[in-house]
Point group: D2
Chain length 309, copies 4
């Protein structure tokens, strides 16, 4: 399946189900993938932050991606995160993604090393030229510790290096200005927000779609939200978003003295998916701290409140 | 004039016009204040970041505030920034604001010193108890270097310490969750966004109003945007916001090698206000670097493009 | 007393004793000042971060400073912090310091507002020109959120704007390079480190002295450390520094869930000074969270271990 | 060769010479390795930040490491960086390092993902248990964006998980307290500073050695500095350090408008090594911006000033 131009709609960053022993649970990958497609999502983003890409070996990444591509079977495009520190390493990840049959790549700016806008632009150009697949830039300063400069994104959109942007920066003001400046310069460029609590706003502002971690838990909700926005029914979109934003509280059930916010959020997505019987086991990859049983009970309560359980 | 409960609408953070010698230009304060009220704003916020509060002596602050209060003459409420490092110093600023006749105070969390959520809550409670005016919390991590914790704001809203929040954090996801959690707990609490590029979004999300620095340049635009949103005409609100977001580019005409983004933005607001003949002199307070003439010409071009000149 | 050129030795950042009601306890200011001079310090720095300058009103600052100047009576120079957001406000503080009889001023870069190296240099030049007293730059990124650029300090040292630097940046590598570059360019420039745990190192590297918060608790220890370093007895200097660094653990007795590190450290200095009978009351200014009794007991234990009690 | 316990002395983080085509230049790896051993270094650290580990593929890393181990031939221990985002990925890198014959591993805390002290401790314990080689913790907040908590390092030193620490945090105060607290609790634990501008200070404070990037350019200088410190000749150690700190200015010859500080520093180390004929080609890995010819000329001048050319 060729990648739609621009890619629009709901593209969840798919969690990677694991067995109790820590291996990729391919049966659960298949079940979850089917569920998401049934819910009406417009694409799948494998091996992003929600997919625990930072915690998976190259072999595990390949297994998860191949399984999702095989399950999707061309019904929706599969985007593959190629998360690694710099160009040469990203290209090794990209070769795996090509081999697995992904339709597009999603790469961040260089990280671990300190970088520079000139280097960031060169990095994306080299990845695009060598990898042979459409390329999305992944702007996630919480992980990468630089913000993609708007001017760099504009240049790379205009010259065709980038097919789109996944914006998880949380900087909605900068995103607004980008959307305005993209008009006319790169009409096929796809802007997807990763800010899952303000999707109605991003769509009102002109974004093409959303990559919501919470979409692993309530994909249908995001599909309804997207449809309402497309129909211009902003009151309905807002109401759906409010419901989803309230549900997002399940990511804060962990004890902050014992675990970080990342473990709490990824653990909650998996615990909820387990409670909804979308996957077999809620384990997260080491060394993340697991949620305790009481937290899982509270997560179940929140699913019930949201009408999901 | 008593403060409306909740305060709603467009409340520009009024710039402080200066003479070429660096003193407060009271005639220009009066002219600008009249202009803003004529444009339909719903309140005035004096002595905020856009008002160069950090650069003005206590005497200058008092002069600017007294002049604005006198000019407003009860037609719209005047909120006074009481920007200082911690409680006792803020209370000295608050005494001046009471003397000048302000209708409400706007205070940040402690800054310069490192602080803690328990201290932040205690700080606002002490200021509210001692100052005798409604109190807004000013969440501006770019200046204060802490983000107001959502739980602290909720507690202070519920117990009546705070009359409202001016949110310049740029964290729209956290704001969304706050708006949801405030419902029912504090119906009279006013949430004003300081994120002037995404006001349509904030209003869609349920915010009560906006404190736009750019409102010094195009107050009527923000008033139209607010009216469209209140009428549920989100397409019109978006179009107005897009026009204003494009206009915001005037804040980036300074040379980043020679001046910081703050000088460039405050200088641009003043240069634009001068070109629009709202004030007599575009000088900013020392040690801010002034914009060069070429930048001012480009700012004029942008005003013309936006239909303002 | 004229300021020595360069200023060298131990210059404690004097805490500001308060009464239980929160007013400046002038009797304790006098007792503590006498104690420090008796211990052999080479100067006093009033109204710095350890002096809770951020928490004191202008009137309280003036009272504390006047009392210390009067008590010192020319035996050692008194440096006065003039901590405020930008130039005009700092100059108001400087006028008070001149009135109180201070021998030198200590000012930070602009804070609260975002700034730029050109503005920082202009700020110090304006303060020096208008205030009429020798000026030290206070590099404290933890409070000010910018690091003083080495090139700016070098320029301001070479042209005589600055008499010295109080370096609380913790960036010992940059300090080393500054010390090397200052040689020959500004031989009378005084470099004082505020990093109280590595004073032996700073003196070995060529610093002129130290401004240790812990010097409120063990001034004699820092005087011995300084003397050993001046004598070239680095083993003795290291041993003394190790003892003081171990003692510094008293700053961490507060419960991090209930109070911030700043409250814990300032509270500890005051609790220790009270236990040593240098001041009458250990209260810190609002809204700082006070240490609980158990923490004060542990602080007493640490003083005993260090041979001070 | 077994790893000395504790490891002490000069352990340069060896740069990875590349061919003009970007492949590992094994002949230059051998020549540089011989040169460093001839200069008297006490160990070699391959695949650290100076080694451009973030830019090399797994295959390139393995080639560089195998070549260095083979060349060292047991004369000095070889430590191998196993830089990757989290536990499972680090273990894949560790398997390569074991295969290549390294004597010890050097791992950071998890990065890209947000982490927590409990996870950091678990991460190091899992790596140590599974990898089968002595393990050093690499504290480099500039890359990893967390600082290793002192309490975590102490626990992992005391229970034998860690053989040592490479501290590139620049937080000399925290290092001092760690050194004091390690005494008696973990006498064989090795503390190596990565702060190459203050090595005399770190050794005075009790550190065991240094991992200086600049040691690729002047290994003999660091060996002399270390020897002087061990002999208690602190004046000589300081003089040598001052000379090396002045030489370090070669890392700042790049144009900051065109390249970042990391490219400038790594490029300078390689340009200097090329000028000293230690390697054949000064190329750095993509997408780093190369130094221009004028910068390389200035680097040559600095080598001449330092008596190296």
């Amino acid at each position: 399946m060729p990648l739609p131009t621009p890619l629009r709609g709901v593209v969840p960053p798919v969690i990677t189900p694991l067995t109790p022993a820590g291996e990729v649970d391919t049966a659960s990958v298949r079940r979850l993938t089917e569920h998401l497609i049934d819910a009406g999502v417009h694409g799948l983003f494998l091996l992003g932050s929600s997919g625990e890409a930072a915690y998976l070996t190259d072999a595990q990444r390949l297994t998860a991606l191949e399984t999702a591509v095989d399950t999707a079977a061309g019904r929706v495009p599969v985007l593959a995160g190629v998360i690694d520190t710099t160009t040469a390493r990203v290209l090794d990840r990209a070769a795996d993604a090509v081999r697995a049959g992904a339709q597009a790549l999603v790469a961040t700016a260089p990280f671990y090393t300190r970088t520079h806008p000139v280097e960031i632009a060169d990095h994306f150009r080299r990845v695009r030229a060598a990898a042979g697949l459409p390329l999305f830039a992944y702007d996630i300063p919480a992980a990468v510790h630089t913000k993609l400069p708007r001017a760099v994104v504009l240049d790379l959109a205009a010259d065709g290096t980038l097919a789109g942007l996944k914006d998880s920066s949380g900087d909605e003001g900068s995103l607004r200005r980008l959307l305005i400046e993209l008009r006319g310069r790169a009409p096929d460029f796809s802007v997807l927000t990763g800010s899952e609590l303000t999707v109605d706003c991003a769509l009102l502002a002109g974004a093409d779609g959303v990559v919501p971690g919470l979409g692993n838990v309530d994909a249908a909700g995001y599909v309804r939200l997207y449809a309402a926005a497309r129909a211009g029914d902003w009151a309905a979109a807002k109401a759906e978003q409010d419901r989803l934003a309230a549900l997002f509280a399940l990511t804060e059930e962990g004890d902050p003295a014992l675990m970080g916010p990342s473990s709490a959020a990824l653990g909650a997505f998996k615990a909820a998916a387990r409670l909804l019987d979308l996957i077999d086991c809620a384990a997260t990859a080491a060394p993340q701290v697991p949620l305790d049983e009481a937290a899982v009970v509270r997560i179940g309560d929140r699913l019930a409140e949201a009408g999901l359980l």
